[in-house]
């Protein structure tokens, strides 16, 4: 967009490509474009005016920075999401994040289904230097979460992070299994799970909205972690999720190493989306 000269309605149309290409989605993009056009009809705007307006509109949707406030003990974080989104790696990253802040952590290897899922989290637990509770393949995931909850209470852990198996939200039996895990967590520890996080792959398109919607109907989501933002994807579906469902983005995954987790900063995210 030419920054200094006056902007026309056609120029604003061109912004549509920027937003759609960022996976913001048709509906949210049309709302933003409509708003910009109405501002244009009230006064002349330069390219840099439009950029500032666009940034503030997106920031308005994304809201204030929101992290994970560990305000109970043991504090339980439940991680869910579709297959391959980055959950297990995110569990490891969160463990490292809180351990480096002096917290005592235990993990629950809640994926008892996929090949080598337990092995994968065990290796991460060693690398992070945290405890882990696992079981045998085919065990009831709720029982792993129950055992980990017991251990967290008895052994005085600060935080318990529960990994779950990937599942497509279209599979009713798997969503029911997730509901059960959530229920059992709540029965084992009062107020648990305190944080219920949906891990969304930043390369996901519009299906990400359906994921947040359906997962959110099964369990009460408190936050999103947007993984793989180090890819060429802008993760714009997070904007649509925030706008339509009000779920805040708490962290972003920016790589495959244990320290590749960063707090979600709306200003930085929007700047990266628009460059």
């Amino acid at each position: 967009i030419p920054l200094s000269r006056k902007i026309s309605r056609d120029d604003i149309e061109k912004l549509e490509e920027v937003l759609i290409s960022a996976d913001v989605g048709v509906e949210t993009t049309m709302e933003i474009i409509k708003d910009l056009k109405s501002k244009l009809s009230k006064s002349e705007l330069t390219g840099s005016d439009v950029l500032v307006l666009l940034e503030s509109h997106l920031m308005g949707i994304l809201g204030e920075e929101s992290g994970i406030e560990v305000n109970d003990k043991p504090f339980v974080i439940l991680i869910a999401g579709v297959n391959g989104s980055g959950k297990t790696t995110t569990v490891a990253k969160l463990a490292h994040y809180f351990k480096s802040r002096g917290k005592k952590i235990v993990l629950a290897a809640g994926d008892t289904f996929r090949a080598a899922a337990q092995d994968q989290l065990e290796i991460w637990a060693k690398r992070a230097g945290v405890d882990i509770v696992n079981s045998h393949s085919g065990a009831d995931p709720a029982s792993v979460i129950y055992d980990a909850s017991q251990k967290a209470m008895v052994k005085n852990f600060d935080i318990m992070i529960a990994d779950t198996a990937g599942r497509l939200h279209t599979k009713k039996n798997l969503m029911e299994e997730l509901r059960k895990v959530h229920r059992v967590a709540g029965k084992a520890i009062e107020g648990s799970p305190h944080e219920v996080i949906l891990v969304v792959d930043a390369t996901t398109g519009q299906n990400g909205l359906a994921q947040a919607e359906i997962f959110g109907q099964a369990i009460p989501l408190t936050g999103i972690i947007l993984a793989k933002l180090d890819s060429t994807a802008k993760g714009g579906i997070a904007v649509a999720i925030r706008r339509k469902l009000g779920i805040p983005i708490k962290f972003i995954g920016v790589g495959e190493k244990i320290d590749d987790l960063a707090p979600f900063v709306p200003k930085d995210y929007v700047k990266a989306m628009l460059e």
């Binding site: 996976d23 497509l168 299906n207």
Partner: protein, 293 residues
């Protein structure tokens, strides 16, 4: 439902004469939105809509169906063409003693799972497949291949301590000849197409091993970046076909159109579940219907 939306857009149209440019433009705006909501790439949608418009102008209005249905019919058949035509693509692999298939793609797309599925499919077509684990980075990646191989009853070649992907693959090729494995399925680590070091690893594997087929494994829920990913993998490594995964979900799968349009190679298989038997051939007409919703 796209047909309903189109019928609404064409409510005022009389049922005689030819489809005018205005009718088509209105109808195609609805189609455009449907394609973007289905994750088809922005630039590809623009091109596609223009092509349909050029083709549809002057078409006689058919009296047996509504103008909305007619536009959908034109769009649907054009989508099928773009996805490779009516028939499922034929998969023919040369017998190379051993034949080598390499799976590549972004992190978490489903490569390892589909290595196992391809092994089952090949065995059902009279091959003797073996899985080769070339992912030396992801924790327990080799165990995942080992477990899957055991589940489906095929052999696997796993990394030895400190062994690099090229070495593992070359060893697997040697072992194939002595063990009578006629096809090797190489599972590689997930990687970003912008990770130069990891892309160079694939370039080297392709250059030294000369695989008979390199398949890009793509998640059906991939959004607008599918084009960048497909283009870059094709440019640097060379792609012979695609495997579109997790189609048992409700992602429309518009990435399929983007990949086919940009790389010009066929989608050969679709993944429809987590188990080793959840692999189907790709049907362009089913995909076109799915994308249009």
């Amino acid at each position: 439902q796209l047909t309903n939306r189109l019928n609404n857009a064409f409510r005022s149209l009389t049922s005689r004469g030819k489809l005018t440019t205005k009718n088509i433009k209105d109808g195609l705006q609805e189609v455009r939105m449907a394609l973007l909501e289905a994750d088809v790439n922005y630039k590809i949608v623009k091109q596609f809509i223009q092509n349909v418009e050029d083709e549809a102008v002057g078409d006689k209005v058919l009296t047996s169906i509504t103008p909305g249905q007619q536009v959908v019919k034109i769009v649907h058949s054009k989508l099928i063409d773009l996805l490779g035509g009516k028939a499922s693509p034929k998969i023919s692999l040369p017998r190379s003693n051993p034949t080598v298939i390499m799976l590549v793609g972004l992190q978490g797309s489903g490569k390892t799972t589909h290595a196992a599925k391809l092994a089952v499919w090949l065995r059902n077509h009279d091959w003797n497949p073996t899985l080769v684990a070339l992912d030396i980075y992801r924790p327990a990646a080799a165990q995942q291949i080992q477990t899957l191989a055991k589940q489906i009853g095929v052999a696997s070649v796993l990394p030895s301590f400190m062994e690099q992907p090229l070495g593992i693959a070359q060893r697997a090729i040697k072992e194939a000849k002595t063990n009578g494995w006629d096809v090797l399925i190489l599972d590689t680590a997930g990687r970003l197409q912008i990770d130069d070091q990891m892309m160079r690893e694939l370039e080297q594997l392709q250059f030294k091993l000369k695989p008979d087929a390199v398949f890009l494994v793509v998640d059906a829920m991939t959004g607008q970046t599918a084009v960048d990913v497909g283009y870059e993998f094709a440019r640097r490594v060379g792609i012979d076909g695609f495997v579109l995964t997790k189609l048992d979900g409700d992602a429309k799968g518009g990435a399929a159109l983007s990949l086919r349009a940009v790389v010009g190679k066929p989608i050969l298989f679709v993944g429809t579940g987590e188990k080793p038997d959840a692999l189907e051939p790709f049907y362009p007409d089913r995909m076109a219907s799915r994308i249009l919703g």
